[in-house]
Symmetry: C2
Subunit: 344 residues, 2 copies
């Protein structure tokens, strides 16, 4: 029998509620002989207000000993913008070398898209997670004056790009359509863009079966709304991936359904799974949040830990639930329904 | 009587065709006592292949003596990515200090949006045009090797942000809804983002009637497809503006209708008007291109040169034409129809 040591970071706002449902479904999905051992970590706005801490080194060290992390949502209007994002969320992604930020864009049957004509959408965005404009490399001069200058440096390495590009090719190779699209802005950000393009072409030689394509990020947003069915696997930079995956969530029925995995494929560090949505303080504590994005993130977590069949069962439960949705249910009613489908 | 000295850069692909129609409508719209003097400049892929030049200093100096520039489209697959973009298009924007990149997002009656439910869309994006990640400040180390590092530096100045933010407030103030949304990513790009936010709030004190709002760029893309009617004026950074305006074009019926102005408000340098679309080499020379985006850019040009009534007439002609569109027309048929409406 196997034990899974899961670190749980419910976080702020609706994070608590949706994580509870995610765990419910996780318990229901795991084989009987697998033991789930969870440790909850209190991180986010409340801890920050109480102690001024965002992610103490001691907590980081403890988190590291787990097999995976399930995160709800982080953030509150009472905390200045950037403090928890840089000090907690991004710190985790960088400290644990989560270089594969995996975000499926799938329109489930029965889900209404804001796009006319019920398009078929089933792609996955492989977003680089540890480089680009997200490195936090920048600063200000003459701060607070009318002569202030602020810089942000996007750092891109052949090493960092190659590993995410290769991962994306592997995923494309394993899918029926075997298509991979690189998204960047290599006509303007020529240094970073040409490096991405060079490595994309280079690694592509190892995957002759994969059809490739390149789009500028601006053009990609057009196709996301006019022709989303053209995409299979997309590989892109950290910032473009951030933008495109929110747009992907929007066209596939909303941020309430969008799952993500911050993956360290080698397993040197625990990978982290989280819904793409935020803490939604306006509806927190009211049982109104849709836990589906968290449950789909749990499916990704299962898959990452080697439970492919169980992951598929969770996804199937979500698909069945979405296909039959009518009326309004509370957060825990949705969780219960999904857990029941998974167990049944 | 007044003479307008217009520099015309048809450029590549469909650029030639759409510019011809734009000029047709411009002639039709101008008051009888205004003389239009055009000088055509051969810039773009053909010139680059012939001479290796993208924008010689002598041409730049000549362009500078004009009242405005009308540009068709630049680019061809035969030219390496970035050469014409950086060496011609962006060089013009930077050399002529086009810090206001104005891009309306308007869904005209009769135009099909890819969004369900026929939303009402009528906003304008004020994109910063001379700073941010577009400055071309970056480089590579160990170029071409597996140890390559590439950087892109986003440069942001209080001076540069303030002028575009103030321009956007003025535009918001002049519109019925008086609403201004700042789009950035100040929770991740904290240095640039906080500078934008500080100046946005500071300048806002001069415009107490304008309602303000802030959105992260990722969230903004969601609202572009789920709630585009919430936007009135948007002010944003060069790169975010690039991305958002292509998305705006997509939801308002496509890049074939999206106009833009690269404006130097002080008039020290000529402003430049161009359709947002590219050179579309696949349909070039076939009379298939829709000149409407160029014609709408001509309306912006008229407005910029002080011909407000004439600009409105061109817009009205486009609106009427779009409302009645049926069947397929050639590029020049559309131009003729619009010119006839404007004259009639
Ligand atoms: C909260 C923020 C730091 C984060 C990001 O920009 O990556 C979020 O938008 C996401 O997509 O997970
Ligand atoms: C061609 C390119 C340099 C340009 C840009 O990125 O600004 C284009 O996409 C645009 O939006 O005008």
């Amino acid at each position: 029998s196997r034990t899974i040591r899961l670190a749980v970071v419910p976080g702020d706002g609706i994070g608590q509620e949706v994580v509870a449902e995610g765990l419910k479904v996780l318990e229901a999905a795991l084989p009987a002989d697998v033991k789930l051992e969870t440790t909850e970590y209190d991180l986010g706005a409340r801890r920050y207000h109480r102690t001024g801490e965002t992610l103490p080194d001691s907590v980081l060290a403890e988190l590291k000993t787990h097999d995976a992390i399930l995160l709800g949502a982080i953030g509150d209007p009472s905390v200045p913008s950037g403090v928890l994002e840089r000090g907690l969320l991004l710190k985790l992604r960088f400290a644990f070398d989560h270089h594969i930020n995996l975000r499926p864009g799938r329109l489930f049957p029965g889900v209404k898209s804001p796009l006319a004509g019920e398009p078929e959408i089933d792609f996955v965005v492989v977003r680089e997670g540890t480089e680009g404009p997200y490195v936090g490399n920048g600063g200000t001069l003459r701060t607070g004056t009318e002569h202030e200058v602020a810089t942000e440096v996007s750092l891109n390495t052949a090493y960092g790009i190659e590993r995410v590009v290769r991962d994306a090719y592997r995923r494309a190779q394993a899918r029926p359509r075997k298509k991979l699209t690189l998204v960047h802005k290599n006509n303007v950000l020529v240094h970073a863009g040409h490096l991405w393009t060079r490595i994309f072409e280079q690694v592509g030689r190892e995957f002759p079966e994969v059809t490739t394509d390149y789009l500028h990020v601006d053009a990609a947003t057009i196709f996301f709304v006019t022709q989303p069915e053209r995409f299979d696997v997309i590989v892109t930079d950290n910032l473009f991936g951030d933008i495109l995956t929110d747009l992907a969530a929007a066209v596939t029925g909303g941020i309430g359904l969008a799952a993500s995995g911050n993956i360290n494929p080698g397993g040197e560090f625990p990978s982290m799974f989280e819904p793409v949505h935020g803490s939604a303080p306006d509806i927190a504590g009211q049982g109104k949040a849709d836990p589906t994005a968290t449950v789909l993130s749990v499916a990704m977590l299962l898959d990452h830990l080697g439970f492919a069949a169980e992951a598929a069962a969770v996804e199937a439960a979500v698909a069945a639930d979405l296909a039959e949705r009518t009326g309004t249910r509370t957060t825990s009613q949705v969780g219960d329904a999904l857990a029941a489908r998974v167990s049944g």
